[in-house]
């Protein structure tokens, strides 16, 4: 079943001449893990905002076409209704943190309180989430007294705790340390296995190559939708869109150029390791 459908969707912000997104056609199946890539200004954030209905309801502009999310027509639905099934983690934690709670745990509980979740359950979900993101130590601190990366974790957690069907993440790990990034991706992968649909905008190709089912390349329109393998080994295409292939693919490419290997280009660590071990036999 398609959980997300875009039909001839276009969007122009008022005051701007061109379409930020033009003629988007797309269907995503329930439970898919989708990576969203593209250079800065390619419309990725706009696309993320449209799944929650911030576009067209919050930002002024012109919309064409249709978006159906979890059976709801975005144009005809309220953001409040859409947000029951879609969780959106913003790029900048400053935009996410409500400031309504004075502590990290209150911040995490905020959305649940609004839905009237019973106290016991709320407590348990906050505890579990703090544990999951490794911020138990900071539960009584104000989110605004945390470091940039810790704030980003709290912002992501405040979305995850709502148990959305569709989780939309806009550059969720941009400020995280390397292990923090790995933790967040591992967590998202775990959620994905429980049937949640993941839409993640990131240029971290190392992780997308391991986790994504499909990747969408944006450049104010959809340039290509395909498997990580097809997109992340298309070096010229990536270059054209100001993106880069990983060092894994670079080594694999050089092995081919030197006629040491005839395999198709590798995108992940284990794959390349095996390839080299065979060459070295």
């Amino acid at each position: 079943m398609d959980i997300i459908t875009y039909k001839n969707f276009s969007w122009r912000y008022s005051g701007y001449k061109g379409w930020t997104l033009h003629n988007i056609n797309l269907s995503i199946k329930k439970g898919e893990f989708i990576g969203i890539i593209g250079k800065i200004g390619s419309g990725r954030t706009t696309f993320c905002s449209s799944m929650l209905g911030l576009i067209p309801h919050f930002y002024p502009g012109t919309m064409q076409g249709e978006i159906i999310i979890n059976g709801l027509n975005v144009k005809k639905s309220k953001i409040a209704d859409l947000s029951k099934c879609v969780g959106l983690a913003f790029q900048s934690p400053a935009n996410q943190l409500t400031g309504a709670g004075t502590t990290v745990e209150e911040e995490l509980a905020f959305g649940l309180q609004n839905l009237g979740v019973p106290y016991e359950e709320m407590h348990k979900r906050v505890d579990d989430m703090l544990n999951l993101i490794g911020l138990e130590k900071f539960r009584k601190r104000s989110p605004f007294e945390l470091s940039g990366g810790q704030q980003q974790k709290v912002a992501i957690a405040s979305v995850l705790i709502m148990n959305p069907n569709i989780l939309v993440l806009d550059e969720p790990t941009s400020q995280l340390d390397p292990l923090g990034t790995e933790q967040v991706f591992d967590l998202i992968k775990k959620l994905s296995k429980t049937g949640i649909t993941i839409m993640i905008s990131t240029n971290n190709v190392d992780y997308l190559s391991r986790f994504a089912d499909r990747i969408i390349l944006f450049d104010n329109k959809i340039v290509k939708i395909d498997t990580p393998k097809k997109i992340l080994t298309d070096i010229n295409l990536l270059k054209k869109h100001s993106l880069t292939h990983s060092n894994i693919t670079e080594v694999s490419l050089r092995l081919k150029k030197m006629n040491l290997s005839k395999k198709e280009l590798a995108i992940d660590f284990a794959e390349l390791k095996k390839e080299i071990e065979e060459i070295m036999k």
Binding site: G38, G148, S174, L176, G180, N247, E250, K273
Partner: protein, 273 residues
């Protein structure tokens, strides 16, 4: 030679009892490019904010170019050490790019041609001269970061401190930042705070690893990325190419680039023949 910055046994608490820096000793000399790495919340930003007086240590002493900072203002110190914020929106407030860049130098009394030259040079260096009449908020994130960097360059400090200069950048942005650092190193001493191990391994002459308010390692990049237990403790990972080399039999353990990797591969292959 007098170090540009010398931090002696500094401690810092934002709130009583929460020690963010614990007894830090740190020096940086002219011409160095030092990368400070470490997990989120380890005190990296807090440390460098001491170097231009945005923060003062609760204990210990900061010496900037031979003089204690205790009675100096941020305005005086920022002529020596310029800090570029992690989030450019925390820094930028003017409505025209060139005015934003001119703000600092005009505050220290520069006028006329001298001011204009400073601004234009800084904008040229970051590649934004063409956009000088634009509103900074109409720029994309890459470019906003570069405006923030340019406004510090225009102050001509001895030391430039770039906090997460590559956060949220696409590839074009990454390359621009890397080239910029390589350009800056000719005239400036540079500190970068970064989680981008690929960048750090390529540009830093020295790496400082922080963990829970302490410095656990201070030395060459090649040595830093072979200390796996330490990396794990500090929530860091070596660059992917280093990890690959370390996972394969016979390869050197301190490889930092694809070129070095391929060289080593050929060396091992030759030996096998």
């Amino acid at each position: 030679m007098t170090p540009i910055i010398s931090a002696k046994k500094i401690c810092f608490e934002y709130f009583k009892g929460i020690k963010v820096l614990k007894n830090i000793n740190f020096e940086i000399n002219k011409g160095e490019v030092v990368a400070i790495i470490g997990q989120n919340g380890s005190g990296k930003t807090t440390l460098v904010k001491h170097f231009n007086g945005l923060l003062s240590p609760t204990k210990g002493e900061i010496i900037v170019k031979g003089e204690p900072t205790l009675n100096k203002t941020v305005a005086q110190l920022s002529r020596i050490s310029g800090y570029v914020f992690q989030n450019p929106d925390d820094q930028i407030f003017n409505s025209v790019v060139e005015k934003e860049v001119a703000f600092g130098p005009s505050n220290i009394g520069l006028k006329g041609k001298e001011l204009k030259d400073r601004v234009n040079n800084a904008l040229n260096l970051v590649g934004l001269f063409e956009k000088r009449k634009m509103h900074p908020l109409d720029l994309d994130l890459n470019q906003k970061k570069l405006v923030a960097i340019a406004s510090m360059i225009a102050m001509k400090p001895d030391l430039l401190m770039l906090d997460e200069p590559t956060t949220g950048q696409d590839h074009a942005g990454l390359i621009r930042v890397e080239n910029l650092i390589n350009e800056l190193r000719k005239d400036y001493t540079v500190i970068i705070i970064s989680h981008d191990m690929n960048l750090v391994s390529r540009v830093a002459s020295r790496i400082v690893m922080m963990c829970e308010g302490e410095i656990l390692f201070d030395g060459e990049p090649k040595k830093a990325f072979t200390k796996n237990a330490l990396l794990k403790k500090t929530y860091l990972k070596p660059p992917v190419i280093t990890e690959l080399a370390q996972s394969l039999k016979g390869f050197k353990k301190d490889i930092l680039t694809v070129d070095e990797f391929m060289e080593d591969l050929m060396r091992i292959k030759k030996k096998k023949k």
